[in-house]
């Protein structure tokens, strides 16, 4: 099981700013290990961010997103105390979901 995401959701103007750091190797499938063997590709493929039952961002990643993916964006609405939920699925089918409270 992957480490929890670090999520910060804060009110900014008439919206909410979301910053998230996901914990993932994001192996490209091109790197070789010490023995010269290719390390198989393994990376987050899709990310969904929801607020109040509505998707506020949906992303698809390739292997060229940096290790421990970072994402920052803003959506209109949101109130202090609301939850922002984020989930990802990687190329092995592993999943992780976390949520944060808007501050």
């Amino acid at each position: 099981m992957a480490e929890p995401m670090k999520i910060r959701a804060s009110l900014a103007g008439d919206g909410t700013e979301v910053r998230v750091l996901m914990s993932h190797e994001m192996e490209t499938g091109q790197r070789k290990d010490a023995q010269g063997r290719l390390v198989p590709a393994w990376f987050i493929q899709s990310v969904t961010v929801t607020h109040a039952g509505r998707t506020v961002l949906a992303a698809q990643f390739g292997p060229a997103v940096a290790k421990n993916p970072f994402l920052a964006f803003r959506f209109k609405g949101g109130a202090r105390g609301d939850k922002v939920a984020i989930s990802w699925v990687d190329s092995r089918g592993d999943k992780r979901s976390d949520e944060a409270t808007i501050a």
Partner: protein, 149 residues
């Protein structure tokens, strides 16, 4: 009798084949074709466009001119084009041209901050889909140390 184990195996096989969207029902299936594309033009076609038009309304809000470490290249990109539906980041000289696609629902600002990998100095394209049409802006980012080896 078919056990739960084999049922979930079948599901994961279907997911691996790209037939089923993994995760929540709202998540779109991972676009294998787009991520297999080997050039910006191919990527535009794989995402459902014909060609992308250069636009001054797409900005690199923050992006380095020179990235010392290609493994972590921070980018913030934004679109001022009305009805922006999606923003994609493409690296011309990476083995995988398409780095990421972000679907922007109404109410979400068409501005994304993220970090990508770059194998070498390359043009980075920001591709925007707005009202069904494709627009693009390009910036060269020099890489001192490649990040895909």
């Amino acid at each position: 009798m078919v056990g739960a184990g084999s049922a979930s195996t079948l599901l994961s096989l279907l997911a691996a084949a790209g037939w089923l969207a993994p995760g929540t029902a709202t998540a779109a299936a991972w676009n294998q074709t787009a991520f297999d594309a080997k050039s910006p033009d191919e990527t535009v076609k794989a995402l459902g466009g014909i060609a992308a038009v250069r636009s001054k309304d797409i900005t690199f809000v923050s992006a380095p001119d020179i990235a010392e470490n290609g493994a972590i290249v921070p980018l913030t990109v934004a679109s001022a084009i009305p009805r922006t539906e999606a923003i994609a980041i493409l690296v011309e000289k990476n083995a995988t041209t398409l780095a990421a696609v972000f679907e922007i629902p109404p109410g979400t600002e068409p501005s994304i901050g993220t970090r990508i990998k770059m194998a070498q100095t390359s043009n980075v394209h920001v591709l925007v889909k707005a009202d069904g049409k494709f627009y693009t802006a390009v910036k060269e980012i020099k890489v001192t140390l490649g990040g895909c080896g």
